[in-house]
């Protein structure tokens, strides 16, 4: 895989409209892009962790209130 490229405010603006139907100001898009880049750095170790056949830890039960 290629190294991650920084998320830009333009990317956020486009995705906000195209995927969420939520227009976003330039200021909000800039702050969001900066945060996403920080989060990506924080999640590097997690993304490299071999997860094997682990299932996600969820709490869903087929009958309400009876896990």
């Amino acid at each position: 895989m290629l190294d991650l490229q920084p998320v830009t405010s333009e990317t956020v603006t486009s995705m906000a409209v195209q995927m969420l139907g939520m227009p976003m100001s330039q200021a909000n898009a800039g702050a969001t892009a900066a945060l996403l880049n920080g989060l990506a750095a924080d999640m590097q170790a997690l993304r490299k962790l071999p997860l094997g056949d682990e299932e996600p830890a969820t709490t869903y039960a087929a009958v309400e209130g009876q896990p």
């Binding site: 909000n28 900066a34 830890a57």
Partner: protein, 464 residues
């Protein structure tokens, strides 16, 4: 301020024995809440009518001969828990008009036990921050120095106990929000095991990592409160059906031979000198009581931090999405980007984090087989000034979000119980806390260690 405020146990004893009425206690607590409100902003709303109604009911029950574990004990709740007929604001303009239709499970339990609710406490907006700065309801201020933060997000919950307004408050903790403000304000804050206390009737930050717990002056009061708060709840599928131990009865057992885990990497490698000294002395005190040190190495901490990020952001954004779509501008400037960012995080990262969570749980369980509690500082620095963005620590300046949460948030991911216990003061007079972390559902042990420590020290008894 100097006079010591009574504990839950002392108030309940007085009211049960009719030495004082619940109404008298409530009036005194309400007066104190009003007295400090302008300066410290502990409350979002003080509710005198509700408090007096609760107090009248307690006095009636006592007259009929009932004995109540929290008879007349004034308490207050972080303003994300529902109190019937009152707005649950979440500390946010967006929720300012959200009137609760019923009490949260935890509120109901405290009231049924004889507690008297004084009102709703200030918090960092939407519980998604750690300073207590709040542009809508006013900044929560540290009781030891109002120019400094109280911590958060359960800011008012720690302030109210520190100022002696009431001996018990409720907070929630998703990354450290009970423990960190407790440390910065010099009080005792317990984050129980995930599932030990019902979350029903509390607004969520992160469904799978939110924990509800008490903030008190003493560990003995925390044990009393937890005994009342814990237990199953049909309204919360994650609330455990495990037997609720008699926490107060287990406080006095000695800690001789108890194994205290210490891990220098991550938890002790970059501390303010005053914090390092206070926590080391705290450890020495526990050794003097017969505990022994075991060096440990919790693996996968970087992965745990990443998993915490990968879970908290999407879960928070999923809850807030409808409000973001309609009223984005009404969120505080520091909260809006956090909630927007969560909308763009890949689902595969979220699921990867939930898968990693199982691996981390398994690996840490092995480490905790060899210790009874892990001891760490709660925070590496004391309360910082408003507006400060970094903490000066050995190794260089650290962003506050890392400094204040890295030592606490791993235990939100794993759901382990953890308590912040006052263990000293800095040279400038600011409180310091040490964190005791236990195995899942071992609240009795962490409470016992904290209690035994408090029997030998008086840090928890100091008032601003």
């Amino acid at each position: 301020m100097s006079a010591a405020a009574p504990t839950c146990l002392e108030i309940a004893a007085d009211v049960n024995s009719r030495k004082r009425s619940a109404r008298e206690v409530a009036d005194a607590a309400l007066a104190r809440a009003e007295k400090f409100q302008d300066q410290y902003r502990a409350f979002i709303k003080i509710t005198p009518e509700i408090a007096r109604r609760h107090a009248a009911r307690v006095d009636e029950r006592i007259k009929k001969g009932e004995k109540l574990p929290l008879a007349g004990v004034p308490f207050a709740v972080k303003d994300l828990f529902d109190l019937e007929g009152v707005a649950t604001t979440y500390g946010a303009k967006v929720f300012a008009d959200r009137i609760a239709k019923s009490d949260a499970t935890v509120v109901k339990k405290l009231v049924d036990a004889g507690g008297v609710c004084l009102g709703k406490l200030n918090l960092h907006e939407c519980a998604f921050g750690f300073t207590g700065e709040n542009p809508t309801f006013g900044d929560a201020r540290n009781p030891w120095d109002p120019a400094r933060i109280a911590g958060g997000s359960s800011s008012g919950s720690a302030i109210a106990v520190a100022l002696g307004i009431c001996p018990l408050t409720l907070g929630s903790d998703t990354g450290g929000s009970i423990r960190q403000p407790s440390a910065l304000c010099g009080v005792t804050g317990l984050k129980p095991t995930y599932g030990r206390v019902s979350r029903a009737g509390g607004l969520p930050l992160s469904w799978t990592m939110d924990h509800v717990g008490p903030i008190t002056r003493t560990a003995a009061d925390a044990a009393l409160a937890l005994k009342i708060l814990a237990g199953p709840d049909p309204a919360d599928e994650t609330a455990s059906r495990r037997l609720v131990p008699d926490y107060p009865a287990e406080l006095s057992a000695r800690i001789r031979g108890l194994r205290i885990g210490v891990m220098h990497r991550w938890f002790f490698e970059a501390l303010d000198a005053d914090v390092a000294a206070a926590v080391s002395q705290g450890l020495e005190k526990l050794f003097s009581l017969g505990a022994r040190q075991v060096e440990v190495n919790l693996p996968l901490l970087e992965e745990a931090l990443g998993a915490h990020r990968a879970i908290i952001f999407p879960e928070a954004s999923a809850f807030h999405r409808p409000f973001l779509a309609e009223r984005s501008a009404d969120y505080a400037d520091d909260i809006r980007p956090l909630l927007l960012a969560g909308l763009f995080m890949p689902a595969v990262d979220y699921l990867g984090a939930l898968r990693a969570r199982r691996i981390i749980r398994r690996e840490w369980a092995k480490v905790f087989e060899n210790i009874d509690v892990l001891l760490t500082p709660t925070t590496p620095v004391t309360a910082t000034k408003f507006g400060q963005q970094t903490a000066d620590l050995p190794g260089g300046a650290k962003p506050l979000v890392r400094a204040y949460l890295d030592l606490t948030l791993p235990f939100n991911l794993t759901g382990y119980p953890a308590i912040s216990n006052p263990c000293g003061f800095s040279k400038s007079g600011l409180p310091i806390g040490m964190q005791l972390v236990g195995r899942p559902f071992s609240e009795s042990t962490v409470l016992r260690v904290a209690h035994q420590y408090q029997q030998e020290t008086e840090w928890h008894a100091r008032f601003p």
